[in-house]
Symmetry: C5
Subunit: 268 residues, 5 copies
Amino acid sequence: MRPIDDAPVTRDGKVLVLAYDHGIEHGPVDFDPQPESANPEHVFEVATHPAVTSLAVGKGVAEAYYPSYEDDVSLLAKLNGTSNLWMGEPDSAVNCSVEYAAEELGAESIGFTVYPGTNCEVEMFEEFREVQEKAREYGLPVVMWSYARGQGVKNDTKDDVIAYAARLGLELGADVAKVKYPGSREAMERVNRMAGPTKVIMSGGSKKNDREFLENVKSVIDAGGAGLAVGRNVWQRENPRRILDALEKVIYEEASVDEALQAAPAKA
Amino acid sequence: MRPIDDAPVTRDGKVLVLAYDHGIEHGPVDFDPQPESANPEHVFEVATHPAVTSLAVGKGVAEAYYPSYEDDVSLLAKLNGTSNLWMGEPDSAVNCSVEYAAEELGAESIGFTVYPGTNCEVEMFEEFREVQEKAREYGLPVVMWSYARGQGVKNDTKDDVIAYAARLGLELGADVAKVKYPGSREAMERVNRMAGPTKVIMSGGSKKNDREFLENVKSVIDAGGAGLAVGRNVWQRENPRRILDALEKVIYEEASVDEALQAAPAKA
Amino acid sequence: MRPIDDAPVTRDGKVLVLAYDHGIEHGPVDFDPQPESANPEHVFEVATHPAVTSLAVGKGVAEAYYPSYEDDVSLLAKLNGTSNLWMGEPDSAVNCSVEYAAEELGAESIGFTVYPGTNCEVEMFEEFREVQEKAREYGLPVVMWSYARGQGVKNDTKDDVIAYAARLGLELGADVAKVKYPGSREAMERVNRMAGPTKVIMSGGSKKNDREFLENVKSVIDAGGAGLAVGRNVWQRENPRRILDALEKVIYEEASVDEALQAAPAKA
Amino acid sequence: MRPIDDAPVTRDGKVLVLAYDHGIEHGPVDFDPQPESANPEHVFEVATHPAVTSLAVGKGVAEAYYPSYEDDVSLLAKLNGTSNLWMGEPDSAVNCSVEYAAEELGAESIGFTVYPGTNCEVEMFEEFREVQEKAREYGLPVVMWSYARGQGVKNDTKDDVIAYAARLGLELGADVAKVKYPGSREAMERVNRMAGPTKVIMSGGSKKNDREFLENVKSVIDAGGAGLAVGRNVWQRENPRRILDALEKVIYEEASVDEALQAAPAKA
Amino acid sequence: MRPIDDAPVTRDGKVLVLAYDHGIEHGPVDFDPQPESANPEHVFEVATHPAVTSLAVGKGVAEAYYPSYEDDVSLLAKLNGTSNLWMGEPDSAVNCSVEYAAEELGAESIGFTVYPGTNCEVEMFEEFREVQEKAREYGLPVVMWSYARGQGVKNDTKDDVIAYAARLGLELGADVAKVKYPGSREAMERVNRMAGPTKVIMSGGSKKNDREFLENVKSVIDAGGAGLAVGRNVWQRENPRRILDALEKVIYEEASVDEALQAAPAKA
């Protein structure tokens, strides 16, 4: 494990990835609740918030918009992704090479999804191997989206499954593992323990109210987790900077959820 | 996204691709309504019309005819394609490499089909990745034929599906996305919005009467679209130059359909 | 399309390929009617006849016999082929690389089979791409054996199907397309028209009597076709030189079938 | 077979691999009986015991922890492995390249699993070929985890099956073959005979009591086997050093099981 | 076809390959009738008999033992092979590269199995292509194990099938084709005729009594065959040198079976 505590994907050892790969994974329907979120410029602007350590986007969005934001945003190139029009076994197309991300896009970290438990596990692990080893050549930290799925995974939010997903991050050489929230601080502590020095971040998931969302994040931090990757819970909000202000308090300043909500009032 | 507004595939930021890949995709039956259209020379001649920004053909046709037209026509090398004799899952053979298109054919832009929603989506996205990254090396704009299909796509002209197809053009790094017409100007505006700086062009589709066809094109332009790719609606006509005259008015000169039809009368 | 009219595979713009790939495609049973035809030397001797522009054989036969005939025969290396012991979907193994054919065998042209309409169409088109582009590097003309087959092809001698097969030769970059005889001169004219500058040659097929065979060839020539590829109709005959004399008249000297038969009498 | 008797994976020609690939193969559940075993540091500490010739771990664990132990532990990079969330045909993802193991991780030997008898046998043998030939370039000994499985293998602890598995180690070029215990000293002698100069080591398997476990190991040594690879039987124990002391007696000092147990008393 | 009459795999144009790939193909059960045959040293010793032109073994056995025998035995590296634990469609893993065989093992010829008629025919032919072309670079003769199998092959000892298998050796560029015995001298003559200059050798098959075995070999030689590849019929015998003495008479000295048996009496 290469030290990543001074890499741009972290701040004080913590991680807050703003994820914006919904255009490929879910399609325009995800932008409907907040139409301006369809415009990548809006999201790049949000990503200039100091709480955000990296913005995760695919190749095309990075090519089109990152040149205007490279001084203010750290690019996490999300290399694989697939539309949800496809009804087959979970899999993910590799849409960008590490070389292209590093040399042409100017990425400062790499993101890659694996689906342990599916029929594509072996193929995806092997794709991850190539990506991870190539990223090491470029000195780029690797964030693994680790989501157990498939016929053998009856409940993908069960703590055992999430602990396994995080452990796979360590075993396969990820610097950061992005997993679902396992439901409690105690479960999250075990998840962290299994990942060793691989930083664990929570997947933001579908939109929640402020308090519920921040309490989940708080329990991740309290459990020793590194932070979260968040998409819809930020850019589907009317005022995304307000929730980022609150996240900054919780993640980097050891604030309570109440303190964070007070410092970033809804009517600011 | 590299700027393509000064690339030969555009004129004043607009695009009119004359598509002639029907010999592989549909076979000789498409030439029957206008037998001379079987002769590529006829189509190359048509493509010298100033309204046409590029002519899209496959490798063999380019090899045989483009040397005589390279001063008057801009070649868009359509790299993949498959016969309709094949009854399997939608897929498309890669019949020409980017290297060959750039170095041997003299192509000035690249075309590539993807079928999101099919079992071949992952494979086609990955082929697109290689094509797109290689085309960037040669500085060639990439046009994505983006047609959602497959078991999960019940209606491939639904506006949500077409908006998703256009967004995939942006996400995967296409300079231009060629999609079906979504049925209305309002739907087309949303499609354009989803594609960001990726130019959206309408697929010409099967032959229509002049007014109906031009009204579709007009609504694309009015909605902010870049233009269209057209095949049968041009070279299946007795006088293809007449419809190109009209398209020139609509696409580049902000003319109404009536103005365009008057300027290019049927009995010219 | 590179000019091939001065390549060894043609004579005065016409083509007569002697095909001898039956040892792999059909096995020894094809040699039983004329046992000496099992001996490649016999066939190489026949191929020295001036009517023959090229001899099509696989790698092993070329390696073993061509060194003795390279001054008198022009080698067409048939790169792919499969035994008929196999009962699966039509496919064809690539048994020789272009590099080996060009550098080690001394081939002066390349032959490659595709089966449009089968489940292997995409794979075979992509193999053809690699072969065609590599052959261009060596300046070798490419002959495509273009045989539509598969579940969607109910009748592979239907003229539409054969016209499509010939057009695919043009579209994919073949210099010569070898197709089945479509049944009439009129149908053959359309086939030729669809192929543009790609030369169309008729597949000789199973053995026929002299007059019937020559009349088919005559109608191909009259329809503007370039000639034929013939195997069993030559080397399954007791006197193969006699039928080659007759073919020479019909193909290169514009003779009628009667003239050709008189000039090469059965009892010569 | 390259001589490996002076390679770090052996001591006096014997082998004791401490295996710690359970985080990927079985997941966190394997660490529950001894929670500190989830922490790779604990296992690296155990591996400094002089009885241990190599520690087998995957890429990510090696990257994170081996830099602190490279003077005291010899790294066996286990290249492939798959989660048990997956319900498909036995297979194993290649998660680390030989180049990366040799050049970046500092591995002194290589481990690779094959599953003869499964549908993936051909693929895994071919992966093994590449790994073995590349490992030879780096001069690294290769340990084959050789586990017969699949529809044709009704009983994977049958002595014939294990003898075959060991023989495959010899045939495919492994320096060491790791197989299941065949049940008796006599069966183990035949297994050794079949493997020729390929060293045979017993797989430790699930946790057993001290005497039963040591008696199995003793019979392996008495039968001429080289030793064992052991995981849970060491680091699931409260005092792993005690069992390693006993193993050292049995493997390297020709001690009886009683002597070994006396020298390493349970209450030490 | 490159001349191989002065290559080590032949003696006076004849071939006697001692085959010892049973450890991978059949497993230890093949060694049970003569337990010392499990020890490759025993077989290498047998292979020093002057009647033996080459010893066919896999990579691992060659690595381990050939360095001690390279002055007295000519190594035929058998590149592919698969265990019979596997119940799937006939296929064979490529366990050794030509490069490794030539440069590291010191092989003087190459062996490769193909199964015409199976679902893997296309794949195996293509693997054979790569092996054959690479072997040509190293100047190594190629022996094809040519065994027709699969759903379309009802009887794999039918003479038509064996003649086809031998012809495929010629067509694909093998120097020697190893086929099953077709049952009679007449059938064998046709098999030879189909193979042209590719030498045909008989597969020894399961163990037979001396006279029956030698009579088969004699009929192969009388029919113009080059010899045989033999495994179990030699090293499953108590005195393998005696049968090799007899084979030497029959293959190289034109002796009758009676003469051969007298010269090499059972009680020698």
